[in-house]
C-alpha cells in the first residue's frame, strides 16, 4: 500500500511538472556588444565585484538569470557595433528579442517598424520616462515614443596625465589642469606642453579610425552653433565652421602635437605608458584609467589622473556630442509570458543602472546621477556636467554610423594631408547627402 502511494505521488508530480508551464523557464534571446570575458566573469553574479563594461554587463545578466529562475536569457555576443548582423537577422526574420542599440542607431530600425515601442511595457513594470535624464529620454524617444530602455549616456572626454601637465606648467594653483578656452590657446598650450615635456599634447588613435574624427567635429560644430543637420535628410558640412575645426586638428597634426600612427589599442597603451598629455577617449575608460592611477609604478600613478569634458573652445553653445546605449526590443509575435519576461529584464536593468555607471558612462536615471553613491565614484564631479552638455544629432537623422564613417574618412584625409581641406569638406558633404538621398 505504501509503495503504491509513493508511486502514485511520483507519477502525479511528474505529470504536474510536465503540465505546469511554470516549470519551464521562458527563453529570451539577447544580443549585445561590449566583448566577451567569460574567463573572468562567466559565472559571476556578484555585480559589485565586476569591473569594466564587459565584466559588469556579463555579471548583471548572470544575476538576472540567477534571480529569475522562471526566465532564461540566452546571450549572443557580437563584434561592435553588430548592426550588419542585426540587419541581416531582421531581414531573415530571426532577430533577437533584446539587443543593444546606440541611441544614434535606433532610428535606422524604428523607422522601418522593426522595434517595439516600449512605453506601455515599461509602464507596466513601473519604469516611467520621467525617471530618465533629459539626454537619455531624448535619445531613446523617436516620434514621441520610447524605443529603447536607455542604460547610459556617453561622450568623449579629455583624459589627462597630471604628471605631464605639471611638467608642462599647465596646472592651476588648486591642482586642476589648465585647459584651453579657444583654438589659439589650445595650440599655444600644446606647443608649451611639447617644449616642456618633449611629448605630444594629445594621444589620439588616428590610424584605422573614423569615429574619433567625427565626434570631434560634431562637438566643435555644436560649440559654434552650427545647425548642420537642420534638415535631417540633408547635411551642411562645407561651411566656415567645419573648416575652422578641421584646420585646427590639421594644425595639431602638422605641428606634432599629437601621436600619429596609433590605432585604438595602441593609443590606450601609449597614454597609460605616459607618452602624451591628453587622451581623447570615451567615458568607458574612466574606471580603468582611475584604477591605473591607483596602481603603484604606473605612469598615471606618478602625478595623478584627471578627466574632463571637452573644453569650450568657441563662443557658441556649451555642448559636446553625446550618445547612449539602450536595450531595444524587436517587433515580433510573442506570448504574454515572453513579453512579461522582457519587461522584467528591462526593469532589472533600470533598477541596477548604478552598477553600469561604474564603467564611467553616465547614468540614464536622474535618481542615480544625483545619488551620493554615484557622486562618490571617482571623477564623477568633473564629468557629471556631460549630462547637461551632452547633445546627440537630431533623432530623425538616419544611418548615423555610416555618416560617421564618411565624415571620419574625409577628415582623416584632410588632417593627414592626403586631401585639401576644402575638397574634403565638399566631398564629405556630398557623400553624406548622397547616402541620405538613397534611404
Amino acid at each position: 500500500m505504501k509503495i503504491k502511494r509513493v508511486l502514485l505521488a511520483a507519477v502525479s508530480a511528474g505529470v504536474m511538472a510536465l503540465a505546469n508551464p511554470a516549470f519551464a523557464a521562458t527563453e529570451l534571446t539577447l544580443q549585445r556588444f561590449f566583448g566577451a570575458c567569460d574567463a573572468d566573469f562567466g559565472s559571476n553574479t556578484d555585480v559589485a565585484k565586476a569591473v569594466g563594461e564587459c565584466g559588469i554587463i556579463t555579471s548583471l545578466i548572470n544575476k538576472f538569470n540567477a534571480d529569475n529562475p522562471d526566465v532564461h536569457v540566452n546571450v549572443t555576443t557580437v563584434e561592435w557595433p553588430g548592426y550588419d548582423q542585426l540587419t541581416a537577422q531582421f531581414a531573415s526574420g530571426d532577430a533577437p528579442d533584446i539587443v543593444t542599440i546606440h541611441e544614434s542607431a535606433l532610428s535606422d530600425y524604428q523607422s522601418k517598424g522593426l522595434l517595439m515601442p516600449l512605453d506601455d511595457l515599461l509602464k507596466s513594470v513601473g519604469v516611467t520616462p520621467d525617471a530618465f535624464t533629459d539626454a537619455a529620454r531624448n535619445g531613446a524617444t523617436k516620434d514621441g515614443k520610447i524605443y529603447g530602455l536607455p542604460i547610459d549616456s556617453w561622450t568623449m572626454l579629455y583624459h589627462i596625465n597630471m604628471d605631464l601637465f605639471k611638467q608642462a606648467g599647465l596646472v592651476n594653483a588648486d591642482g586642476t589642469p589648465i585647459l584651453p578656452k579657444s583654438p589659439e590657446e589650445l595650440l599655444s598650450q600644446a606647443e608649451q606642453f611639447k617644449q616642456k615635456t618633449g611629448k605630444p599634447y594629445f594621444v589620439q588613435n588616428l590610424a584605422n579610425e573614423t569615429a574619433l574624427y567625427t565626434r570631434n567635429l560634431y562637438t566643435y560644430l555644436f560649440q559654434q552653433d552650427s545647425d548642420f543637420f537642420a534638415d535631417p535628410k540633408h547635411v551642411k558640412l562645407n561651411t566656415p565652421e567645419a573648416k575652422k575645426v578641421v584646420e585646427m586638428y590639421k594644425a595639431i597634426f602638422d605641428k606634432g602635437y599629437t601621436t600619429k600612427n596609433l590605432d585604438y589599442g595602441g593609443a590606450i597603451n601609449a597614454f597609460l605608458a605616459g607618452e602624451g598629455g591628453v587622451q581623447l577617449n570615451g567615458t568607458w575608460v574612466v574606471g580603468d584609467n582611475n584604477a591605473q592611477s591607483e596602481t603603484k609604478g604606473t605612469a598615471l600613478n606618478k602625478g595623478g589622473y584627471a578627466v574632463y569634458p571637452y573644453p569650450q573652445l568657441f563662443a557658441g553653445a556649451h555642448a559636446q556630442y553625446a550618445d547612449g546605449h539602450t536595450w531595444a526590443v524587436s517587433q515580433k509575435d510573442r506570448t504574454p509570458e515572453q513579453t512579461a519576461a522582457i519587461g522584467k529584464f528591462l526593469k532589472f536593468f533600470a533598477d541596477n543602472d548604478f552598477d553600469w555607471s561604474r564603467t564611467g558612462h553616465l547614468p540614464a536615471y536622474k535618481a542615480i546621477i544625483s545619488s551620493d553613491a554615484f557622486k562618490a565614484l571617482p571623477h564623477r564631479n568633473t564629468i557629471a556636467a556631460v549630462a547637461d552638455l551632452g547633445r546627440p544629432l537630431p533623432s530623425a537623422v538616419q544611418r548615423q554610423f555610416a555618416i560617421q564613417d564618411i565624415i571620419g574618412e574625409e577628415m582623416s584625409a584632410a588632417i593627414t594631408g592626403q586631401k585639401d581641406v576644402d575638397a574634403a569638406l565638399a566631398d564629405m558633404e556630398s557623400r553624406v547627402n548622397e547616402l541620405l538621398a538613397n534611404l
Binding site: 566583448g35 570575458c37 569591473v51 549572443t76 555576443t77 563584434e79 530571426d94 597603451n269 580603468d288 596602481t295
Partner: protein, 282 residues
C-alpha cells in the same frame, strides 16, 4: 682559372645577401606570431601597465587554462573545419566534374555555358550578397552548415582551372581507354582524375584557406553563437573598448585558433609550396 673563382665568390656573396633577406623576411613574418604567443603567456594587468612586460618573466598558463575551461573557441574551430572541409570537398568534386565536361565532352551550348561560368569570376560577392541572403532566408538555410557551404560551391575559378588542366592532358589517353571499352566515367575516374592531383591540390588549398578566413558571409548568415565560425567568433570577443580584460585571454584563443591551420600546413607543406610557386609561375 681565375674567372670561375670570381664567379663562385660572386655567387657566394649573392647567396649570402639572399639568405640575409630570407632571414629578415622570416623574422618579419614570424614576429607577430611570437608576439601573440608572448601576450598569451602574460597576466592582463601587467600588459595594461606595460605592453613591453611581454619580454619579462613571470609568465603564466592561466589564459590557456581559462580558454580550455570557458571559451567557445573549440566550437568555432569545429564549425570552421566542417565548413572549410565541406566546401573544399564539394568544390573539388564539382569543379573536377565540370572541368572534365567542358574539356572533354561535346554538348550543345558548351561554349556559351563556359562563358557564363567565367562571367562568375567578374561578379564580386558583395554584388549578390543581399539577393543571396534573401533566398537563403526563404529557404531557411541561415545558421546551418549547408547555409555556409553552399554559396562557395559555385566556384568559377575552380571550374576554369580544372577545365584548363583537363584540356592539357593528351586526348590519346582517353582514346586508348575507349578502345579498351572503358566508360566515360571510368575514363574520368581511373585515367584522367589521378593526373590532375597537382591541380586538385592547388584548388583544394586555396579553397580551404579562403573558406577558413571568410568573414562576410558567416557574419550575416551564422548569427547564432553556436554556429559562429572562427573569424566571426574571435571578432565577437574582442570589442571590449576599455580593454580592461582579456588581452592575454584573447591571444590564447588566437593560438588555439591558429593551430589547425598550422597543422594543415605541416601536413600539406609540399603541396602548398608547389601550389603557390606554380600559381606564381603561371
Amino acid at each position: 682559372m681565375r674567372a670561375p673563382a670570381i664567379s663562385i665568390r660572386g655567387r657566394a656573396f649573392g647567396d649570402r645577401v639572399l639568405l640575409a633577406l630570407v632571414i629578415l623576411l622570416s623574422i618579419v613574418m614570424i614576429a607577430p606570431v611570437l608576439w601573440v604567443i608572448g601576450l598569451s603567456l602574460k597576466e592582463n594587468a601587467e600588459l595594461m601597465a606595460n605592453p613591453n612586460s611581454v619580454f619579462q618573466a613571470p609568465y603564466t598558463l592561466k589564459n590557456y587554462i581559462n580558454t580550455i575551461a570557458t571559451s567557445s573557441v573549440f566550437v568555432w574551430v569545429f564549425n570552421s573545419i566542417i565548413v572549410s572541409g565541406g566546401l573544399t570537398l564539394g568544390t573539388l568534386i564539382l569543379s573536377s566534374l565540370a572541368g572534365y565536361g567542358f574539356a572533354r565532352l561535346n554538348f550543345p551550348g558548351r561554349n556559351v555555358l563556359f562563358v557564363i561560368v567565367l562571367f562568375g569570376l567578374a561578379v564580386p560577392e558583395q554584388a549578390v550578397l543581399v539577393a543571396r541572403h534573401q533566398i537563403f532566408s526563404m529557404l531557411n538555410f541561415h545558421n546551418s552548415y549547408h547555409g555556409l557551404i553552399l554559396p562557395g560551391l559555385s566556384a568559377s575559378f575552380g571550374v576554369f582551372l580544372m577545365t584548363q588542366y583537363f584540356k592539357a592532358i593528351p586526348k590519346e589517353l582517353d582514346e586508348a581507354a575507349l578502345l579498351d571499352n572503358a566508360s566515360r566515367f571510368r575514363i574520368f575516374w581511373k585515367v584522367l582524375l589521378p593526373l590532375t592531383v597537382p591541380a586538385q591540390a592547388t584548388l583544394g588549398i586555396f579553397t580551404f584557406l579562403g573558406a577558413w578566413n571568410d568573414y562576410l558571409w558567416p557574419l550575416i548568415s551564422a548569427t547564432k553563437k553556436d554556429m559562429y565560425t572562427l573569424t566571426v567568433g574571435m571578432a565577437s570577443t574582442q570589442t571590449n573598448f576599455a580593454q580592461s580584460e582579456g588581452i592575454g585571454f584573447l591571444m590564447a584563443q588566437a593560438v588555439f585558433a591558429g593551430a589547425p591551420i598550422l597543422i594543415v600546413y605541416l601536413f600539406f607543406q609540399k603541396y602548398i609550396v608547389t601550389a603557390v610557386s606554380g600559381a606564381a609561375v603561371r
